[in-house]
Amino acid sequence: MSAAPLDVARVQADFPILKRQVHGQRLVYLDSASSSQKPTAVLEAMDHLYRESYANVHRGVYAIAEEATAAYEGARARVASFLGVPSPSELVFTRNVTEAINLVAQSWGHANLHEGDVVVLTDLEHHANIVPWHILAAERGIELRWVPLTEDYRLDVSHLDALLDGAKLFAFSAASNVLGTLNDVALLADAAHAAGALALVDAAQFAPHRRLDVTEWGADFVGVTGHKMLGPTAIGALWARPELLDTMPPFLGGGEMIRDVSRDGFTPNEVPWKFEAGTMPIAEAVGLGAAVDYLEALGMDAVATHETDLTAYALRALEDRFGDRLAIYGPRTTERRGATISFLFEGIHAHDISQVVDEHGVCVRAGHHCAKPLMRVLGVPATTRASFYVYNDESDVDALVEALAAAERFFAI
């Protein structure tokens, strides 16, 4: 583990897009919570595969097919190790975390959830961890319950045991993509288990930013998504306890996931391939492998420290400059908090803010961030969200503040 602090200038040099200008301004990318940019190492890993060793995997005995298979399975091993997964065979590649959660809902859910069964979610979930359960609820008549928020935008665990009473599954995110809140995953997983429920963790916003160890968390299912953690699009991963993977029925059917097929039926393959139907995201897995290598080289502790420092700087800068005119939706300190900051100006719509700051080269998200139930809880239709990552520095915060000031002037009544 690297104890060296992050050398942000060096990191920035690894991200080609940061050399770009928009509207004649330096690109200030503050939307990594939506999707991160990609370092050269990731792009080159994929390019190298396609230029040197590309073939379909698991299928050919010829040299480049062996190389491609080794690259794909090697990537699985590296991602597994990055997530603290005991054995690569416990890690299923998916398109993204959305598919990972749908896989659990449809495979484990269909086999285990019946009318009247309870699934507990929280008020800060992303649609990816809501809609699959709604679909199941409509099909099966399962009941959904919601863990509410406290005044300071954290999960209110004071009635958790009552909510979990009789539940079969507790599905929650490790980090909120709107509020920046980091949840206490081990505590929530323990509570689930104490109630006899399984714990599913949506780690989409956690894995890119903090060291993640699935065994330390003690959960049962953990999903991540590659494009938010410096990897390419179209690759994500689901870890599940091997006992669960072994007994879960297949999700999608096709090549690769079978052991035998006849006119009368089929026998599924071993895990993880049982859940990997058809030609998989081969180059994308290799890209994600390179991404976790890159993060490991930076050191996840250094990443966390950098992000915490930058968040503290940003919270202070926003407050100093705008005071009460700017409302922050999320914890005001860096304690158990990631580098995602949602906010609103009194009387100016999030969308309009985002449009004006774009003119200054600053990319922030405006909208419901795929968390409409949370928006209802917050009582707003949308927020503006700035999110920071390894390639951001204080000058990016400064650019944001200046651009926001300009937007405030533009819409001044």
Binding site: H349, Q355, A366, A382
Partner: protein
């Protein structure tokens, strides 16, 4: 490269700051219809008082960005008093305006005859044509109109042949 002033014309900001026809109408006799923009979370509610084939009154509610709010306001002002067929024609015209490709607009002289399309006068609405240069915002501008169309359909009014 489109600038902010193309998007945020003064008249748009004016409708945004002082929206026309905000409020509700008793339902029934009025029809209530809701629209969402899944992208940005904008929500709009329309109350339509339709009588004898004429849009007698319109009230609007909901929340949204300046473009969707201004477009709602302008729409409400534009359709009030129109016959249903006229309102539908205006919807079509407005949507056509919104689907004109940027490159066509670039060549246009500034609004000289841009104010009519298919022979329909657009008036204030013309100010919204700059939105076309910001493709993501087109849905903000059309939300009110799609919702109106849905409202006219739901109100069971016969569609023109």
């Amino acid at each position: 490269m489109a600038g902010l002033e193309d998007l945020y014309r003064e008249i748009i900001l004016d409708h945004y700051r002082a929206p026309r026809n905000r409020g509700e109408l008793p339902v029934p006799p009025a029809h209530q219809v809701e629209g969402y923009n899944p992208l940005c979370g904008d929500e709009i509610v329309l109350y339509l008082d339709i009588d004898d084939g004429v849009v007698r009154d319109v009230r609007t509610g909901g929340q949204g960005c300046s473009i969707s709010q201004a477009s709602t306001s302008m729409m409400s002002a534009a359709v009030k008093g129109l016959r249903i067929e006229e309102a539908r024609q205006l919807i079509r015209t407005f949507k056509a305006l919104m689907s004109i490709h940027e490159s066509k607009l670039e060549g246009e002289t500034d609004g000289e005859d841009g104010a009519t399309l298919d022979g329909v006068r657009l008036g204030d609405l013309e100010a919204l044509q700059g939105v076309v240069k910001f493709p993501v915002r087109i849905k903000c501008a059309t939300l009110a109109w799609n919702t109106l169309e849905q409202g006219l359909d739901e109100a069971g009014q016969p569609q023109p042949a």
